[in-house]
Symmetry: C2
Amino acid sequence: MERIYLDHSATTRVHPEVREAMLPFLGEVFGNPSSIHWFGQEARQAVEGAREKVAGLVGARPEEIVFTSGGTESDNWALFGPAEAESQSHRPDGKRNHLVTSQIEHHAILHPAEILEKRGYQVTYLGVDRFGIVDPEALAETLTSRTFLVSIMMANNEVGTIQPVAEIAEKLRGKNIVLHTDAVQAMGKIPVDLRKLPVDLLSISAHKFYGPKGIGLLFIRKGTKMPHLIHGGSQELNLRSGTENVAGIVGLAKALEISARDFEANSLRLRRLQKRLEEGLKQKIEDISFNGHPEKRIPGLTNVSFSYIEGEAILLNLDLRGIAASSGSACTSRSFDPSHVLKAMGVSPELARGSIRFSLGRENTEEEVDLVLEALPGIIQKLREMSPIYPGKKK
Amino acid sequence: MERIYLDHSATTRVHPEVREAMLPFLGEVFGNPSSIHWFGQEARQAVEGAREKVAGLVGARPEEIVFTSGGTESDNWALFGPAEAESQSHRPDGKRNHLVTSQIEHHAILHPAEILEKRGYQVTYLGVDRFGIVDPEALAETLTSRTFLVSIMMANNEVGTIQPVAEIAEKLRGKNIVLHTDAVQAMGKIPVDLRKLPVDLLSISAHKFYGPKGIGLLFIRKGTKMPHLIHGGSQELNLRSGTENVAGIVGLAKALEISARDFEANSLRLRRLQKRLEEGLKQKIEDISFNGHPEKRIPGLTNVSFSYIEGEAILLNLDLRGIAASSGSACTSRSFDPSHVLKAMGVSPELARGSIRFSLGRENTEEEVDLVLEALPGIIQKLREMSPIYPGKKK
């Protein structure tokens, strides 16, 4: 069976050029970058070369780029680090213990936030509008003299909505509050230039843009106090201990390079495919609604709700036809709770349960989109016929 | 220049069979193991297959194996996890806040221990004898009703001394104290059978036994309460969040399989090479002393002190001749402090500074050892001639 992969927000296939770039580091070039001998220095050069390349591509300084084991570690660090720094500080005004995030963040942010709550921190979980957008004005109103951190994602992983991070940064100007943005879903899909975007911390994961799994980074703007999350040796600018994943780091840098190089062409292509998919769905299936902002959305991500039926059943039927999509975040795919993102956007639990995320990627074709548009109407109709709440049911 | 790598305790070259096993997961097989569709399930099978393989090789159950980003994360988790579990517990006897470790642990253990001290925990750092061995009797005497954790490494990374972990476990029997052992240096070099060795937690890093960098695991014996270190999605048996490093996990399992398969042959070979190296050094260079236990030592690791000179200078001169060795841990190679391990063993700071670690590996040959034995005496003599404290100096 020819298979169609439409779940690029969950993960992507390593780009052949990325794999090619990584191979020497799974063979000949194997030194420990911390070793002072030739083998070590060869590996060190690869790591520092990757760091410089990444820094150049995102508008950062090399010493502001710290490699981690992935987006989740980066996100955890972005919350626990500033909290730890705050608890170590001796401010005349006493300990600051308030952080602001949103209800639609990834669990890699929400769970650490909940842990900080248990430890006595106060957390504001901002709501969003029906498109999934955080209101910078509303955010500004929650800030107090005790607020030390704001963490708002750059683009949502379930509905693709792009957040007004620059406007949020504007609201924080001069306030001595650390601003983190989870750019795991945004990187490679919308431009990220840290010379213009005044965030202090930014998380990236390589496997979301055709790099390998198990490697990510945290951008830490110079001057931001960040205690370790992982402690031990003095690797990664003495900020993240553990022998560097050299092959992964090289792969991440290469993937970012390619994503910048192919950015315009890919964006155009993804938008065209996405339009074809969405127009087709609208034409062929009734009682559907699209989730996320109509324009402020990362290219290629379509989240659609099908009334009267369960997303899970749609996915299983698609999978039997060789089509891979998802019901939202892969990280919680074994959960039967409706999406916390759609809930925050005001989508009813019933409709949220009937939602599917298609996320297109660089290898998808118009033919594949057409195959989905051929297969899906029948699946939806079949499931609706089986649904006790479908009003159009044949007697 | 033909180069000779004698720093296998720092890291190893990925075994060609390991690389071969990893390649599909840097290409065709790319799903997110958390995705419920075919692509995800294909990746899930690879991860679970690797978990079962690893479990079988170390005598654990699959559900006791949790993959991490490496030895450092595993070690951090092994300390912070039980501490966190303790702080969440509601024991009638109040909070237990005492842990025991040794002065010769890796910094991935010592730094977390120091952080726990800052948070109010009491830490006993056990000394060692002149061979680098922790005394189980002395350890038993430090235990109190408030002790919740003991962490003693299986084999030391700088001198190779093997610790009496089984005897330590015996001392803890029935005491409701979690026992962790850092097996990062031991794995692949001495047999590890968790059916016989009653530790609760055990750390492994793949790149120390010809697997890839950036992947490790923590064995967590069933019944051991371990809160998350990295929080987010429900990956890794809901214990370690973050999309799984599938290629790394497959590589770790393959590397462990190979190390078990070739165990006898490699051990014999390494011991023979090590003997050749040590006998040669004794014959050819005077005023040297070997560090670590003469027998209870992992095969292939030789730590030797050269009086009157600096290890750093020896390493640089060896490196110029194409020979890679180290002055102890790669993770602290940029530090000029003498080794904390040799210090704990009672080696004087002067002698500790003149110490070198040779760690042999599967690709080393007798010819390579002989080349080192040819090069080293001249280097040592030259450096000693330059040393103001060398008594044999020519006038």
